[in-house]
Each structure stands twice: as structure tokens, then as C-alpha cells.
Symmetry: C2
Amino acid sequence: MSDIARLAGVSVGSVSRALNGSPEIGEETRQRIVELARSLNYTVNVGARNLRRGHNRTIAVIAPFLPSDTQRLTDPFLWGLIGAIAEELTANGYQMLLYRMDSTKMEIADPVETGAAAGLIVTGQWLSHDKANALAIARVPFAMWGAERPRQLYCTVSSDNLFGGRCATEHLLGLGKRRIAFVGDTRTDEIRLRHEGYLAAHRAHGVAPDPRLELHSMFDNVVLRRELTELLDADIGFDAVFAAGDMAAIEVMRLLQKRGRRIPEDVSVVGYDDIAVADLVTPALTTVRQPLADAGKALVDAVMSQIQEKTVAPRVLSTSLVVRSSTA
Amino acid sequence: MSDIARLAGVSVGSVSRALNGSPEIGEETRQRIVELARSLNYTVNVGARNLRRGHNRTIAVIAPFLPSDTQRLTDPFLWGLIGAIAEELTANGYQMLLYRMDSTKMEIADPVETGAAAGLIVTGQWLSHDKANALAIARVPFAMWGAERPRQLYCTVSSDNLFGGRCATEHLLGLGKRRIAFVGDTRTDEIRLRHEGYLAAHRAHGVAPDPRLELHSMFDNVVLRRELTELLDADIGFDAVFAAGDMAAIEVMRLLQKRGRRIPEDVSVVGYDDIAVADLVTPALTTVRQPLADAGKALVDAVMSQIQEKTVAPRVLSTSLVVRSSTA
DNA sequence: CTGGTTTACGCAAGCGTTTGCGTAGTCGAG
DNA sequence: CTCGACTACGCAAACGCTTGCGTAAACCAG
């Protein structure tokens, strides 16, 4: 920058003003300066700019990973969400700093406090409630993908898990199914809501759900297979499965097919998320779609608003059932 | 930091030294300072540190997206690669700045020049050869996922596409298949090499490939479906398909099944990449695996070396055929 | 006790910008 | 011609940290 100043015969301050389009600079001098800058292909050092301006235009997004996944980020839904966030961020002229966090440790050196980012997006309810509240109290611009919780000080964005779970289950009940298995770890809030939807649908139709048909593992395929095998071996009949995640649903379908059950003739299966694969497996999976693009938009809108000192309310996005051939 | 200095009764310089573990600071003073820092939960401002030190510990990774993908990043292989890079980066104490780049525009404001990152990884051969060479000349630490090209000044990492293509094809030929269709856009170097492997395998087995069996679209499912439909309608017989990407292979399988062809009885299909879905579709897809973890490691090793002013040679990683039930 | 080392810290420059304030020059009104 | 108001730019401080250099204090040998 000082080189440019010298060559243009002005001060560095003027170069800065010219490059930033300040009105207090002569049109002709500006021309000269920007021309010079281009020919030297100069770009401003964002670090120095951020330091001086006291803020930056990057936001950190935290992706959890399960150590069991051989350390890999594998959940397609998560990638879809991150992609949507990336898209929305660039649309806002922001950069994305991607962090991986061990979901069992759930701790993170706050990138906002270190000045590395201006805001924070957590893609999943991995952070403890208290830690999230602490962030909110510290006035860190912060949004989380996940279910609303009582007394939360922070902003969450989620799909309508209750409605989604209810929708999926009612679809099955409407098909005449009466013994619907549920697959999902209800210790996480999102899944718990989907499960509540499952129960609500049963109540609305006056059918009593069989608690023996509930499988509580969904992220660990090995455990899921074991639980499902036990269920099949116990000879407790069921004619449908609602899995609170597509990957689990697909795993369920595979095992059922391996055990000679026909889908959807013998048992209908519906998933949750509508990841890209859902349409590619055989049979194509009926599932409830989470609005990915809306999710990304809502998440970054939330932190943008907080950066501008505006307060934001939690949002829940509408979901929709996508009927394919795994149910009939 | 000056607060801590004041409270500890030392200068800011000493605080800095204490926090960075300099030996020129008294053990007892250090204790006092770090204790104070923790209690105020202070973290150093990385921007200022980077500015002063003249370097930073973040590297930019560029993910291409096809505008046709409704702007979304959808390729599972790409996500796998990015995940592997993220993992390796954190293992090296680096952060990851994720950029999206329109793959048709192929231009990018160099994050290294702006001081936003210390290095650059491009996940695909989207950057023009000239632009990549220019980066190398500018001594930007830089690595690209993709095939080696003649007279390249930069570092590429790729899997052994030639061998992979040959392997896949020989597997089919070994199964007695003689009319093997090829699906892939040979204008990109990686695919071109896979295609050469396809040809080499034919030569080795003394069978002449039929050029009418070559479909050149693979990233656009609509076009792919059209081309494949035309091939089927033209009644040009084939008993196998080698698709130079799993997503394309899966799409091919779907269409073939819809047209009443049995897989693998009527036509065998092999893909490329071994994305997670490959094992989930029906039938499970035979495919050539690209070593994702190695790829991530090689890529970040390459830029790390360049950051330390070491020169690095292009690397090609070994591939392996994963045989599943889509071939027989 | 003196002179030379070592230890433990302070001082201040500087990383590359931005920006408030000050000020020569220009201009138009009176 | 004088004077105030602009205009267009220069000056220098500041952003939060690191680090080379300088230096009191402590220590040891002679």
C-alpha cells in the first residue's frame, strides 16, 4: 500500500480512501490509484483491515463428527446443511471457517472470542445447553441447528420435528398400518420431538403404539442392526417402520430385505431428512423433507441479525412428506 | 492483554511471552499471568498475532459447484475429500477456510494474497492450467486434486486414474463381457485417464471397443438419461457399463432397471469413487475406491511442505477395485 | 569489592490498515 | 479584497499483538 502511495505521489491514507470508495477523494486521483493498484495486482490485507476495523466478515461453522465414524464426516444431511450455509454466507459476502468438533467432547475454543470469526453456527445440538446459553450471555452472534429448549437464551433453527414425525406416522396409519416401529435415539431433542409426533399420530387415530417396537439406536449401524435383528427374532410383528433419519431408514431396509421381508408389501418404511440418496435406493424411500436451503438462510440470517445487534427469535421451518415407493 | 499486564504488574510484552511459553520469563510470574488470563478467560486475538507474525495457520480450500446443481454442493465424493482434508488440517493445527467457486467461472480472489490464508487447496481440476501455474510462480503454497498435466509448475494429487480405469474394465472383461459402455466426460483430465485405462484394458484383452458405446455426459443427470435412452433405443447391444463416477453409475443402474434390464444378469455396472452410497444401492455397486484419507493427507502435506519452502512433487495414490453385486 | 555473565523483565517499534482531525488550496458571496 | 465554506488531501494514532534490544538486579569468580 505504501508502494502505491509513493508511486501515485499521495499518502497511504489517500490510497486507503480511494480503494474503499470514500467520497473525500478526487475522482482523478482515485482513477490513478486504483489503476496503479490493479497493475501491481495489489489486494488489501484482510487481517490488518479486520484488526483496524475491529470486526471481520467470516463466520465459523462447527461440524460435529462421531469418533466412531473413523473420524470422518459422513452424514449426508449435515453436508447438505453446510452446503446451504456456505451458499448463503457467500451471498452475504461472508467467508466460512469450518471447524470439526468431536461430538463426544463438545468443547470448542470460541472462534469469536479469538477474533477469528464474527459469528458462530453450530450444525446440531451437540453443544450443551449451558454452554450455548453462556455464549448467548457473552453476546456472541450465534445460531444452532436443533430443537428449541425451555429457557434458552440463544437462537435455534430447526424443522418442525413434531409435525414431521406426526406426518410420517399418519401417512403410515392412513395406509392401514397399525404396528409401526420407531427407530431413533430419543435422548436428542430433535428425535424426541419426532417421536412425540409419532405418539400424537397414534393418539389421533386411536391406536396404541407398542413400546416394544421402539429402537433407540440410529447413528451406529452396528447397534441398529443388532436391535432390529433382536426385534425380528423375537417375532413381535410389525408392518411399518418410521426411522427418524434416512441413513437409519436405509439401513433398516437393507436388513429387512436381507431377512426376506418385501418393501413395501410386507413392511412400509419412512425416513426423515430427504437426503439425496433417498431417491436412489431401491425401493425409493418415502421420507419427510427438511428444507435445506431455508435452513441455511435462516441460520445465517440469525447470526447476521445478531451481528447488527438485533435480537432474533428461534425459528421452526415447515417440513413436507415426500412419498416414494417404500410405502404402500 | 494490557488489562492482564496491569493486574499482574508486568508489561504486555511479558504477558505475551508468558502466554507463548518463552523461556525468558520467570516461572512464578508465568504462573500468575496464565492464571489471570484464565480467570478473565482471555484468548489472544489471532488476527493481530497473524498480522505481527506475518503468517497465519489457516488454509483455504476451494470447492467447486455446478450452477446447474441449483447452486448446491452435492457430489458426495467431494464432501468426503473435504472431510478428509478438514481432518488432516486440524491434526496439523490449521483451520480451514471454505470457499465455493462457480466451476464455470473458475476464478477466485486469491485468499493467500489477501493474507486470509497461508495456503490453498483446490478440490478438483477446475482452475485453468495457466492460472494454476501463475499461482505456483507467485510461490503460493498450493495443491490441487486432479490429474498431472504436462509442464505443470504446481503440485497435483490424484488417484491412479489410468490404473483404476484399467482395473474396472479388466474386471468386466474377465467376467466375459465384451461390449462395455463407457460413461464419462473425457474433457476433464481425470476422466480422460480413466477412459485411457478402459482402452488399454481392451487392447490387453484383444477386444476392440465400440466407440458408439461411449457416453460423454456424467455430471448432468438429465443429459445422461437422454444419452443412455438413445443408446438403448438404437438397439446397440452392450453387456456392461463402466461409469467414471459412482453417481453416474447409480443413475445408469436406475434407468436400466426401469427399462427392464437386470443387473448384473443382463448388464454389469461398475462405478468409480466408492462413495458411501455405493454400498447402499441395490444391487450394491462394484466400484474403484479412491483412498480418501490418503488423499486428504497428501494434499495438506503438499501445502505444508510448500509453506516451509520445500518443493513437492505431484503424487498419485493407488486405487483398488471393490467388487460388489452389480457385476457378475 | 570489582567486573563480567546471566536472568528476568521493560521499552518501543512495527505488522498493514483505517479514520478523525487538521489544513493548504479553491471558490463564491458580499 | 476579505471571509467563510468546501474540497481534497496529509498526518498520525490506533487496532492487539510479537520480539529485538536494552538494562536493572542477582550471581559468581577472582
